[in-house]
Symmetry: none
């Protein structure tokens, strides 16, 4: 992948909007610490080609991440990763996460994944989150 972006893959042809997948994927990489403050994300047009989408779609995704405080966008300089101030979780955030987590697991099980396999992935991710 050009410009050294760690693996970012989206599934065109999924019902899920492309921009949402891009935002979600980049946010996961950012949270995982794959980018240092000051790094430059690939130019909109380059990433668009790599992912097979219209450049407006990538631009929209960057704008969302800027809104969330992850990026500085400015014409000509590209998309620069910022040090992002810590936020306090909103009171509802924990419950929201809990609900969606349960629904996500239920969906996976309904789709035929064995409960054991789902549980395993949950524990694996928990491990990765705490070891750092």
């Amino acid at each position: 992948m050009t410009h050294g972006v760690p693996v970012l893959r989206i599934d065109l042809g999924s019902d899920r909007p492309a921009y949402e997948q891009i935002v979600g994927g980049l946010r996961a990489l950012l949270v995982a610490g794959e980018f240092a403050s000051g790094d430059r994300l690939p130019p909109v047009r380059q990433l668009a080609i790599d992912l097979g989408v219209h450049h407006n779609t990538v631009a929209e995704s960057y704008r969302v991440l800027e809104q969330e405080g992850w990026l500085d966008l400015s014409r000509g300089r590209g998309a620069i990763v910022r040090r992002r101030p810590e936020r306090k979780a909103s009171p509802a955030a924990k419950q929201e996460f809990s609900r969606r987590l349960e629904e996500l697991a239920a969906k996976a099980i309904a789709d035929g994944l064995p409960r054991a396999s789902v549980a395993e992935q949950l524990k694996a991710l928990a491990g990765r989150l705490t070891e750092t």
Copy 2:
């Protein structure tokens, strides 16, 4: 709650579509085994009132669950829970789950939830899934 539906709550005012929340919530209950085969879900209009949404929104949710094989719908007789045949996970399902799980956790962390808290919930759910 009328008609004995186990706790189902949705968050109007979330930008997440109401029908999607209803589907997700009901599916979680179904996977958890909260309904026996042959049970009747509440009439669309009743559940609509309980949740504060339009009855078409509930109807759409029921139709999705019928499509997935959870329900039998018929005029006059209502929405009956079916015994659902086991499915084999599609090859993409595991990867899809994995991706969305990571994105969900990242979103929670980005929203300010401490990593430890996220990890804890993941492990808790894993526990619940394996104990049964």
Copy 3:
């Protein structure tokens, strides 16, 4: 078939409402002269059993035909075929028929019937209509 009703078949499981098929089918028989004035149509409940539908559905169909002037309904005496006064075609009726005829033929062709076969059926029906 009980009560001597000439062939009337409907296709449950079609998208087309049962009552509409019943009305259409009976009207076709009436136009074809299969019933004499004064004949009695089968009782609602009997025909309902024969066709596999709820008796209310048949009752509704009879009511439509009464409305159109084909039947006299009265409690206890059943559904009596009437001599129906000639009507003048409304100005739009011819165009309406023409349009629906073209659409019907187009649908059949789109469904894979050979044009020749469609044309043949059209001519056959035309023949039956004029010979009488």
Copy 4:
């Protein structure tokens, strides 16, 4: 009519659903070969204005035709006419056509059209179908 769509008229105020009339009318034009593969149908909003219906109603019609294989729909690019693979008539299709044809003719006669006039239209259409 804008965008060069050959005559398409619907009868609002008929109890026949608008979208069904639109589907039927467009399908008749498609079967008649009025559009070449690659042609663009008018944008949903434009046709909606021309016909005096809501744009969703037209969109639904286009979706049905896409389902049947007549159109390719895509955001931003519009509705493109496809080369449609030949289909084999399902065994039921001929009988279905026959039944509906009889009912349609009966309805016309019941509405007051003279039998001769109905027969004439049938023969005329049969002629048009075979001459090509």
